[in-house]
Symmetry: C2
Subunit: 310 residues, 2 copies
């Protein structure tokens, strides 16, 4: 019998950024009273958001998790709160606050990329912040019913919005995105989007469309962006990606062709890289200044897993 | 060097139902004129839908794909059309029609489960129908802007809805769902939902939530529904699931515990099954009348892949 569960722990997904969310969601038991009870809980803790950014207290022990007393000075809008889950002491909530400009020291607002890359907060907090930011964005963009235009209201701890006018229910949205490293012999395929920082090359990526398998989406997106045909596809890892509420599904794809075509709009360059070049990029000493996305991005995890393959 | 792309083709995902969609989407090149051009194309073909059901011409060569002339007799609402992609002859579109009651013979309406299980249409058509039904449902439930309640209008072949009032853009929705077979030694974990046909047992499943990896969702849903703790998780296959627009992500999970707890609401039973019982269920001769979901469901693919493991 083959080993049905080969691979080692921690699994590749657990090594990506935003993946260390340890809150217990207890999704089956959310109901119309969950939010109210959580807010009233004496040990409730809060993540606070203004304009899509997370509030961080930047002192000797930086944190993005506040107790009720500390949260209250920012006038949280509890009507817009979402119950994220429970930690060992009590419920954790995400709450929007209204801030006029920057907060006073030692408080600062961090955008989500800074939360991911700066190590300003603990990895577990970053995971909860990703969940929170995705949920708050979903509420902000679903205030009205898509079927009848009436106002909708949140229930079930923030995990459902109901339309009293037509009775329709809407649930939080998570957009699956495939992100993949095409491989041809001893080379892998990376592209450069016009939006990237200078020198960056990364894996190709795109939204899974309705009616598509993960593997078909990997092949379609790779062909559309680079002209490269992929055959076999292998899943590697996934990553929560709160921009605004995606699930990155990381795969390897076996390239069946080698000649790259790209149209210059989606990508401004697309090339094959060998392991030696990748090593230079990891160490930031590539002669042409090429770089990989940083370590917590699933793109980095895919590139490194292949480059460092024994 | 290990074989980076082990596993054989066809890949497990290609063997699930709704997965044989061979239309070329050419997603990068959709624009504001795509739909108009496709409808005007002399070789355009159409899938027609009424009340979420697909129209099928049930004669000696059953089909759900109609040319413009045949489609026109059903008074298609071309303003609500979606461009699915291109086959070898021309563009394929999904169009709602207004039908008062059942159509006349030889036409019939098939709900999507019948499309999947009845073999009334070709597998490639079933895949295109899944894409079409998901897209049409998304349009029907996103007629108004969730941010400002103004009307939205479709563009880009039906792959975007724009709000002229506030400028927001909305894209088709695909909901990732984990569906998993928990395994403990020589037994696997199946549950019975109150909604299942008599005797059915199937894999557990649930929506991936914002801010969650695939693996964490597999472990959370399994624990919430059955009380079983999973450790390692292995991806197996995915399946488009147009109820209304999900992506099933099929995994195996290594059970760390054996004692099942379920609360009777989500599941009315949950049990361990060994391979001998599964064989009896595949052959429909289990002494207690237990059955598995049919072959085209990813649940069946997961159960069979483990049961028939060499």
């Amino acid at each position: 019998m083959t080993n049905w569960f080969d691979g080692s722990l921690p699994e590749p997904s657990a090594l990506t950024g935003f993946a260390q969310n340890r809150l217990v969601r207890d999704a089956e038991n959310r109901d119309g009273h969950s939010l109210e009870s959580a807010i009233a809980h004496p040990k409730a803790s809060f993540h606070l958001f203004a304009g899509g950014k997370a509030l961080v207290r930047k002192d000797e022990a930086p944190t993005a998790t506040f107790n009720a007393r500390e949260a209250l000075q920012f006038e949280p809008n509890m009507a817009g709160a979402v119950l994220l889950g429970h930690d060992e002491t009590g419920p954790r909530l995400a709450v929007p606050v209204a801030l006029d400009g920057d907060p006073l020291e030692p408080y600062r607002l961090y955008d989500l990329r800074s939360v991911l890359y700066s190590s300003a907060v603990q990895d577990e907090e970053a995971g909860a912040i990703a969940q929170a930011a995705s949920m708050l964005h979903w509420h902000a963009t679903n205030r009205f019913c898509g079927k009848c235009a009436a106002s909708t209201a949140a229930t079930n701890g923030g995990y459902r919005r109901d339309c009293a006018a037509c009775g329709s229910q809407t649930f939080p949205r998570t957009d699956p995105v495939v992100i993949m490293l095409g491989i041809h012999g001893d080379k892998c395929l990376l592209g450069r989007s016009p939006h990237f920082p200078p020198g960056w090359y990364s894996t190709l990526a795109g939204f899974v469309e309705p009616g598509e398998t993960i593997e078909d989406a990997v092949r379609r997106e790779t062909f559309e962006e680079s002209g490269i045909r992929l055959g076999k596809v292998r899943y590697h890892a996934s990553q929560p990606w709160p921009f605004p509420h995606s699930l990155m599904i990381g795969c390897f794809g076996e390239a069946l062709s080698e000649t790259i075509h790209f149209d210059g709009t989606e990508l401004e360059d697309c090339r094959w890289f060998d392991r030696h070049e990748l090593d230079l990029m990891f160490e930031d000493r590539h002669p042409e200044g090429f770089k990989c996305p940083p370590g917590k991005a699933i793109a980095h995890a895919l590139i490194r897993a292949w480059a460092k393959q024994p």
